[in-house]
Structure formats: structure tokens, C-alpha cells
Amino acid sequence: MLKRLLYIAGILGLLIGLWGLYDRLVYGHMHANYGSYVVWGLWVALYMFFAGVATGSFMLATLDLLFDLPLFRGSGRMALWGALVTLPAGLAAIGLDLGHMSRIWKVYLQPHFGSVMAQLVWGYTIFLGIIIISLWLSFQPQRSRWLKPIMAVGLILAIFLSGGIGALLGVNQNRVSWHVSNLPTQFPVFNLTSGVALMLIAIGWFGPQHDPRRTQQLRVLSLAMIVLLLVKGYYLWSDVSQALYQNSSHGAAAINLVLFGPYGWAFWLLQLGIGMLLPLIILTMPIGKQGFAAGLMGLCILIGLAVARANIIFPALSLPELQGLGEAFHGPHLSFTYSPSLMEWAVTAGIVGAATIGFLVGTDRLPLFTRPTTEATGTAD
């Protein structure tokens, strides 16, 4: 029933997305609401979110396929599948955000490696290759000796790429709320949180019901999630308190926008309430270790993380670099306020829908919760 509902939601999203895609491809960026001042909008937030889920999922896959933890045996493929469907979703979002999508080849053939963006494009492309190869190897009947080295490389890359997203923002010294040295160090934690959230959904909703380890897996994942949420909360507190302490700075203005701006409700309700506090409470209770509740909390946390990505990007860009710039010249897309357009939402719905369907199809058609024989002598689970 749950799966059917998710399929329907995914297909609906996909259909809406087709209209958005048509609009984007025919009219370019005209019907988007990001502009020359708030230059990055919903799709960049979506890219950061999905890229985070992909790297986080990969980190989780290493528990099985690299570190051989008996408790997580058999969950590696599922985590890799999660990474495989979410990474292209993120790349699609950022691709559609480009002014000239057809020139993306230039980043490969004429790159400027000093640019964090170029490093990320290359890094994510290699990472996608690693996900595909490791997934393929994990489906081999005999466990390949290449799997562990590849997973190890992938793990290092996943950590660096996570930090890279923080660096993409952090290198802009003119954006005070981004240009803090610990931003790149926060992102691996955020992304690991995304990965654990996806695994809560995967195991809680789609995991093998009769696997005796399932309850234990959910318990460990819940515990890990509680720790991660507390660390996330600590980061949030340090960001907010430091910025607000000097109430005159640009950083304080950005935080004020997050907390009390037009989308303050999204912070309090979605990012903090549904995305952090509710899961913290539920996951500490016995009900939180039950499949449905654990999956639901995973979903809540993912929603909170998506809102958090938006709250990192939009407010920092909504502050004029020079006072009065917003009023100096008027024209389309010259505004320091931003709310995504219908077209942006439609494309977002399509990408989320496609990722959801991809994930569900995998759980239906692929043996994701089994694993290859352990070395040459082991037996399949």
C-alpha cells in the first residue's frame, strides 16, 4: 500500500516535471525566479541535497561492502542503489540550472581545476563511475577482490566531495555567512545524516520483514541518527549564536532572514521541528525502532535537510552586496527576494518523482538486500 502510494506520488511528480522540463527547454531560464542577485535557487539547493544523499548512502554502503560489519551484511547494495538514483537526480538539477547545458563538456575538456565547481564536476563524475562499478561488482556471484579497494576510494571521495559542496560556498569571502572555515567540515556530517535517513527508509519500509537483524539494524541506525542530529544541532547553534552575537554583521542579517524572514516558518516547522526535534523524540522511543515509524522519521529528516540546504543558500544571496543595489536599477530578475517559480517547482517535482520511482523499481526488481558470497568460500545470504 505504502509502495503504491509512493509510486503514484512519483508518477505524478514525473508528469508535472515533464511540463516543467518543456518550459525550461523552450523558454530557457525566463520563467525561473532566481536572478542576477539571488543567483542560485531551488535547483542548486536540490543538487546539494541529492548529492548529499548520494555521498551519505555510499558511506553507509561501506559498512557492509568495505568494513564487513555483520549487522549490516546485505544492506550495501541497497545503499549503493540509493546513491545511484540520487546522484543523477542531483546532477540533473544542477545541469538544468546552467545557462548553457550543452557546454558542460567544456568542464571536462577545458577545465579550470582551481575552481571548486570544476573539481566537483570531475569528482562527482568519477564518483558516479565508482558507484556503478561497485554496484556491479556487488552483484557478482563471487565477491570480487576489487570491491573493497573501490569502496575505499569511493569512501574517501564521498567525504571530500561532501566537503567540496561546503567549499563551493565557503570560498566566497564576500558572503559572510558562507565564508566560515567550518562550513566544509559540516557537510560530511550533514551528508552522513542524509545517508542514514535514507537507510532508515530503505530498511524500515522496504527491508526484508523476516530478517532477524532488521530490528537491530534499525536500532543502531536510530542511535547513530540521534548522535548525528545532536551534532547537527550543535553546528546550528554555533552558526546561529556566533552570527547573532555581533548583531550588526551581514552574517547576523542572513541568520535573521532564516529565523524571522518570510520563510522563517520553514526553518522552525520543517527544518527544526519536523526535521530534527520530532525524529529526536520519536527515535529515542521504542516505537521509533519499528519499521514504519523509523522510515517515516527518515523521510522527515530528509525533508528537514532539504530545507536546510535552501536555508544555507537563499538568505546569504538575499543580502545586497552594496546597500541600495536592489533599488538602483529595475528589470526582470533583478531582485533580492526569491521564491521559486511554478516552473522551478515543477522541475523539482519531476526530479524527485524520477528519483523516487528509480528507487522503488530497484527495491522491486533487484535483489538489493542480499550480498555476494564472502570471498570464494562463503555462501550467499
Binding site: G28, G99, N172, E321, L322, H333
Partner: protein, 316 residues
């Protein structure tokens, strides 16, 4: 979809085109040449003065100014700057240092420079290179106002170039931060990196699209044609005919009107400034007006603490 019909470009050189405008025949020239199609490629470049031509023009200008001085005719600062400019063009490129000086006390906030820039570079709606920021000081009714024109600062340490994933934006040999429209993928990382908000994205709008029009309206075709004809930014030919082709989908910015400067003309914003508040020239020439101005004690640069080393100076 609001795409414009493709209209052939104007087959005249930059100088020829300006000459036609100066002769008061701009509109007619556009109309008459629009029918004769040529194929302009974005890689086509326009003429610029050779050092010999610059020297000849400089000597002629000096002779003219000398005669004016003898006859007691007042010499406008624009004339002085143009002479400075021609003198700079006789020097090797590496020995010039183009800077702009803006006198905040002289700016009257007319936005003339903004509009001159829009006209010179045929900027579409939503793209602006030189807005004039208005600052109100004090509290009503005891207020005074200050106007701050804000071109691209052509920073010597530009934070906007390093972030570009494809090296589409860089400091060129003239010290001007350039955007290569054919290379730019439109990621907008450079906009996020600029501390002065000096870059805008071309979303593909035109002033003529979706405006009410009558079938027989005089000049309607030419207006569309005007919006699609080439600009000469970075001394290259850039037509703007297609919603999906450059410069649409690119980031755009002020370039100190290098296509004019290299032809011995001052930037459009400088020539049009009614307050005579904007100055341009070679800071590597102690005789130049801009050198005199930036040596004054009341000079400042925006956000100097960031270490961007702007080439735009403000007198306050």
C-alpha cells in the same frame, strides 16, 4: 514562446556605424543596411587603432588643443582625457593601466551613464553594467543624498575569475576582466563571488517582445533589429538573436568599453556624464588627469578591506 524573427546583422564596421550615428542618420542606417545580410561570427573582431594611428590622432589633438588654448577657448575635461587616452594608446599594451575615477561630489544622480551604457552595449532588460546606487543620509526631513555609480571594478585581484570552472572569465591583456561568451556555461559562480554585485545574467529578454504593436508601426522592425544587432564587447562581434545562444544564458558585466577605448574613444558612461563626474585614463601616465585625481587624499575604493584592488576610485 516569444522568440524574435531572425534579422540579418548590420554589415558596417564599428567606426563606420558610429559615424553614421554621429551624422544623425542612425535609424536610417540601421534600416537601410538591415536588408543586406552578412554572416558575422562571434569570433569576428573589430578594428582598433594601431600605435601609429593613435600617434597621428594624438598629435592632431594636441595641435587642436594648443590652438584652442591660444584662442582662449575653454578646454573640456573630456578633451583632456581623450588626449590622455590617445597618448596611452601609443604605448605598449603592458605599459598602460586603465582606471576609472568617479567624483561622488559631482554626480547628480541623473542615471545618464547607466542609460548610455545600456545603449552602447544594447543591454536587454535585466542586464545592467553601471547602476547608480542612491544613498540617503540622515532622517526625514533632514536628509541628504549621495549617488554612487557602480561599474565593474576591474579588480586586480578579482574573486570572480578563480571560481569559473571553464576559465571563461579572466583578466585580459588590458587589465580588464573579460567574459568569453562562447566559453561561459552560465553557472553563475562568478556572480556569487563578486563582492560588488557587478555581474548580471542575460535571461533572454528583449524590450520589443510582447509589447503592443500596430501592423504599420513605423520603426517596429528596426527596433527589433536594433536589439538583435551586434554589440562589440571585448572587441568581438556578438549578435543577440537566439534565446538559446550567447550572450543569452551568459553572465555579463562592464568592460570599461574597451572596444571604444582601443579606438581612441572614451567609455560611453564617461562621455555622457553631465556632471563630469566620471574620469577614465591611464594611471601609468603621470601627466594624465586620472593620475592627478587618484593622488588626492580624498580618494577611496569600495570594500578595500577585501583585498580585491579595484581599478575604480571614488573621490568623496
Amino acid at each position: 514562446m516569444s522568440r524574435q524573427p531572425t534579422i540579418p546583422l548590420i554589415p558596417v564596421s564599428r567606426r563606420g556605424f558610429l559615424g553614421a550615428l554621429v551624422a544623425g542618420a542612425g535609424a536610417l542606417a540601421v534600416a537601410s543596411v538591415a536588408s543586406s545580410a552578412i554572416t558575422e561570427k562571434p569570433t569576428d573582431t573589430i578594428d582598433m587603432l594601431t600605435p601609429e594611428e593613435a600617434l597621428a590622432a594624438y598629435e592632431a589633438e594636441i595641435a587642436r588643443l594648443r590652438a584652442a588654448r591660444i584662442s582662449g577657448t575653454p578646454i573640456d575635461q573630456l578633451e583632456r582625457m581623450r588626449t590622455d587616452l590617445l597618448r596611452a594608446l601609443t604605448k605598449p599594451v603592458t605599459e598602460r593601466r586603465w582606471v576609472m575615477v568617479i567624483d561622488l561630489r559631482a554626480c547628480v544622480g541623473c542615471h545618464g551613464c547607466t542609460i548610455a551604457c545600456v545603449a552602447e552595449n544594447k543591454l536587454p532588460p535585466g542586464v545592467v553594467y553601471r547602476p547608480v546606487i542612491e544613498e540617503e543620509i540622515g532622517r526625514y526631513p533632514n536628509v541628504s543624498r549621495r549617488f554612487i555609480p557602480r561599474p565593474c571594478m576591474q579588480c586586480d585581484n578579482p574573486p570572480c575569475t578563480g571560481v569559473c570552472p571553464v576559465s571563461a572569465t579572466f583578466t585580459n591583456e588590458h587589465g580588464v576582466v573579460e567574459v568569453n561568451y562562447e566559453q561561459c556555461i552560465g553557472c553563475r559562480a562568478c556572480i556569487a563571488a563578486c563582492p560588488y554585485g557587478a555581474r548580471t545574467f542575460d535571461f533572454g529578454y528583449t524590450y520589443t517582445a510582447n509589447t503592443p504593436s500596430a501592423a504599420m508601426m513605423l520603426g517596429a522592425e528596426q527596433a527589433v533589429s536594433y536589439e538583435q544587432t551586434s554589440t562589440f564587447e571585448y572587441s568581438k562581434v556578438h549578435a543577440r538573436r537566439d534565446l538559446h545562444d550567447s550572450p543569452v544564458g551568459n553572465v555579463r558585466k562592464c568592460h570599461f568599453c574597451m572596444h571604444r577605448v582601443l579606438n581612441g574613444q572614451l567609455p560611453a558612461c564617461v562621455t555622457t556624464c553631465i556632471g563630469r563626474a566620471t574620469f577614465f585614463g591611464d594611471a601609468n601616465d603621470p601627466e594624465s588627469l586620472v593620475s592627478e585625481l587618484i593622488a588626492r587624499p580624498n580618494v577611496m575604493r569600495l570594500k578595500e578591506e577585501l583585498g580585491t584592488e579595484p581599478r575604480v576610485y571614488y573621490l568623496q
